[in-house]
Structures are given as structure tokens and as C-alpha cells.
Symmetry: C2
Subunit: 234 residues, 2 copies
């Protein structure tokens, strides 16, 4: 069966951009590439789509094989297709993206696979057009975090308002007023007070909230105008 005899078959790659938060910095999961070309250089987690595999399944498979991370919800971002982007052979690459809480996942597995969490500022030079992919993903994160409460995914299941604020301050690299942040956040009705308090505090213990998952889903597409207006012009 060959309905399209003249068309060119092309390698289809998948690259995964994984953001994590450790309570202080936003980090990027990177790996040292162990095959040619560019063997030994830093890279996103990448591989090729199998013959009968959905793109999304491919992303999950590649991520698991390269880092040991399981059950990661990845979202498709954009496809890169400059003719010369991979010097080895013409390759089109579909980029996937995920936000995870670093502490929720097995850091031993990550280490044993030669993958590393690296802060955004300290990230090394990456192969091919991976730097461009990362830049776009950061843009995407900034853009969307201001509108949707996606930041929750970078935090533990139970989290405090100050934690979430630190996350937003890390994403936007600005200070946010504690009182206004809290008011705005609680007014969304998306947080449920678990009744517990944070224990790893050396001062006043903060209330632990969890996300109201149903409302979150229902409200996801509502534009959650979350950042102070001063951010809107950036």
C-alpha cells in the first residue's frame, strides 16, 4: 500500500522539556546525549517516534526510558522543522512539555540515567535547536501561568499559599504582594483547606491547601487573571 509514492519520508523525533520546582528555583531536566552526533553534549530528552506509535505515547516512552520518570502528563508544544536542524539527517521534532514537582518523583532514577535537574540560569549550551525550544517553553510557561492556575502542578499535592507565591515569583522573577496574592488566590475558590499545617517551618506554620480538582478542571479555560496588572505589560 503506497498511496503517496512521490512524498519524502522523514525522521520524526520527539523532544521533552520538563520543568520542576524545588521550593526555590525552577529547574529544567536535561541529559547527556549518549549517541552520535553530538554524543556527550547536553540535550533535552529525545528520541524517534516508532512506526505505530502515537506522538504522545512516544513522548511518555522516551521520557521513561531516558529518566525513569513514570506517569508524567506531557502536553504538546510545537514542532520544529528547519531542514538542517539535525546535522545527522533531516529530522522533524515534536516538542512536548511537562511541569512536575521534583520531590514527587524518584530522583535516584533520574540520577542513574545521567539526567540532571539544572536551574534555568545555569543551563548549559544545548545541542541543535534545543535552546530555542527551551526559550519558547519558558515563554509558554510565563504566558499560561498568568492565566491558568497551572502552577499547582509544580507543587506537592498539599501546599501552602506562601509556597505557591514563591513559585510565581520564581516564574516571573518579581516580588508579589503577599496580601493581594492571597486574596486573589482564595477568591478563585480553587483551594481547599486541608485542616493541616505545614510542619517543616521554623516559624509560624502555614495552612496546607489542596486543589479542588473538579473546579480546577471546570475552570481551566476561564482566564484566570492572576498576575498583578504590572505584569501584563511584559
Amino acid at each position: 500500500m503506497n498511496n503517496y509514492p512521490q512524498a519524502t519520508r522523514i525522521l520524526v523525533a520527539i523532544d521533552c522539556i520538563i520543568f520542576g520546582f524545588d521550593g526555590k528555583d525552577i529547574k529544567l531536566l536535561l541529559i547527556k546525549r549518549n549517541f552520535e552526533p553530538e554524543k556527550g553534549k547536553w540535550s533535552l530528552m529525545g528520541g524517534f517516534v516508532n512506526a505505530d506509535e502515537d506522538l504522545h505515547d512516544g513522548a511518555v516512552r522516551i521520557l521513561y526510558n531516558l529518566t525513569g520518570l513514570k506517569d508524567i502528563y506531557v502536553e504538546q508544544l510545537e514542532t520544529y522543522g528547519k531542514a538542517d536542524r539535525d546535522p545527522g539527517e533531516r529530522t522533524v521534532s515534536v516538542v512536548f512539555f511537562a511541569l512536575i514537582n521534583i520531590d514527587d518523583h524518584d530522583s535516584e532514577a533520574v540520577k542513574s540515567h545521567n539526567a540532571s535537574w539544572i536551574t534555568l540560569d545555569a543551563r548549559p549550551q544545548l545541542i541543535f535547536d534545543h535552546e530555542q525550544m527551551v526559550a519558547r517553553a519558558i515563554e509558554h510557561l510565563k504566558y499560561n501561568a498568568a492565566l491558568h492556575p497551572i502552577g499547582f502542578e509544580l507543587l506537592p499535592e498539599r501546599f501552602t499559599i506562601p509556597q505557591l507565591q514563591k513559585l510565581y515569583e520564581a516564574i516571573y522573577n518579581i516580588p508579589i504582594d503577599r496580601r493581594n496574592f492571597s486574596r486573589k488566590l482564595l477568591s478563585t475558590g480553587l483551594l481547599i483547606d486541608t485542616g493541616y499545617k505545614n510542619n517543616n517551618s521554623t516559624t509560624k506554620k502555614a495552612t496546607l491547601y489542596k486543589l479542588d480538582a473538579e473546579k480546577y478542571k471546570a475552570k481551566f479555560h476561564s482566564f484566570w487573571n492572576f498576575m498583578p496588572d504590572s505584569m501584563k505589560s511584559n
Copy 2:
């Protein structure tokens, strides 16, 4: 040169979703497919990426070949990759998207290529997963038009505020208060009064504005919270 001997080469297609506005309805540009499989059925403008062609260039080429439309600014949307999405052969399809003003472009060329502008409501059944692509693109349009002034691209270079309002009412399928719309719009500072009045009116002539292209570029990433709040929850 074959650095990746085991990987599968796959057909990479491009499909183009073109939205247009005729002053009343939002329309979709569709074409009757003239090759097998599914020959004669309605489809998006599609084709395969050439061996040494960027994805973006491919989209522009395909659009020109199939519709005669030139100089269309297309934007990449998403890539579809279910293993069985094209029954002819495994194909990954990158979807591109554009907004154009129907009257700015050569409708003869479009007609002579067997392409048609069809209102969203009246769109026929489409091949493969094209319906899903269109649904996503409509979502994308609704989502983004509320935040950015992208609607301008669907209008002539010089347009009136009531025209723009009709466009937004068509996108969201809701009535918008004329007074509040006008106030909000003018307060963005993106409109320049051309000093001229609309001539094809049978009643009071409306002021023709043009877009302040520089401010538009600079402000594009500012979240233009444009729709009434009542929309935000949809």
C-alpha cells in the same frame, strides 16, 4: 550518511486552516480533495513536506498551490500523530493556521482552485481528523482573540469600530455592549483615526481607524483583557 539506522521514516504532512471574515460571518477555507484516498471529499488544504523544506515554507507553498493565496502569514498550531490517522499510510500532520480578510485576497483564484469559503455552521464533514483540527483551531481563535487584538487581521486595513465589534460578536456568538466595547478598545491606544469615514453606509458614516502597527507589535504580548468578564467563564 545514516546516523539513525533503526528509526522509522514517516510521511510528514501539512494541513492549513484558514479563517476569513466577510463582515458578517466567520468562514473557513476548504477544498475538495483531488487524489486518493478520500478523493472528492472536503478537506483542509494539505500536502507533504518536501525533503529540504522548512515546515513553515511548506505551509505557504501548499496554500499557494491549492488556493492561489499569496503572502499569507501562517502560524503553527499543533501536530497530529495518531498512528492510524491517515488510512493511506502512517502520516504525521503539522497544522498551520491563518486569519485573513476575505476581501483582501483574490477570490477568483480561490474559486478556480476548487476551494470554497464556508461558514463555520455550514461546514461539511471533513476527512481524517480534520474536523478535530478545525475544532481546536476555533478554540484557539476564541482563546487568543480575547487576549490579543488578533481580530484586526480578519478586517481590511482601514476598519470601523462597529466592524470590529461585529467580528468579535461572530467569534464569540454573543452580543457585546457597543459603548463599553468602544471605550475599552480606544483605551488600548492601538487605533489611529485616519480622518476618513466609512462610505458604504446607508446611515451615519463610521470613523475609519487603522492599527498602530508599532504599538501592536510592542503590546502583542500584553494580555489584552478584552472581552467582558461574562465571557471569561466559558
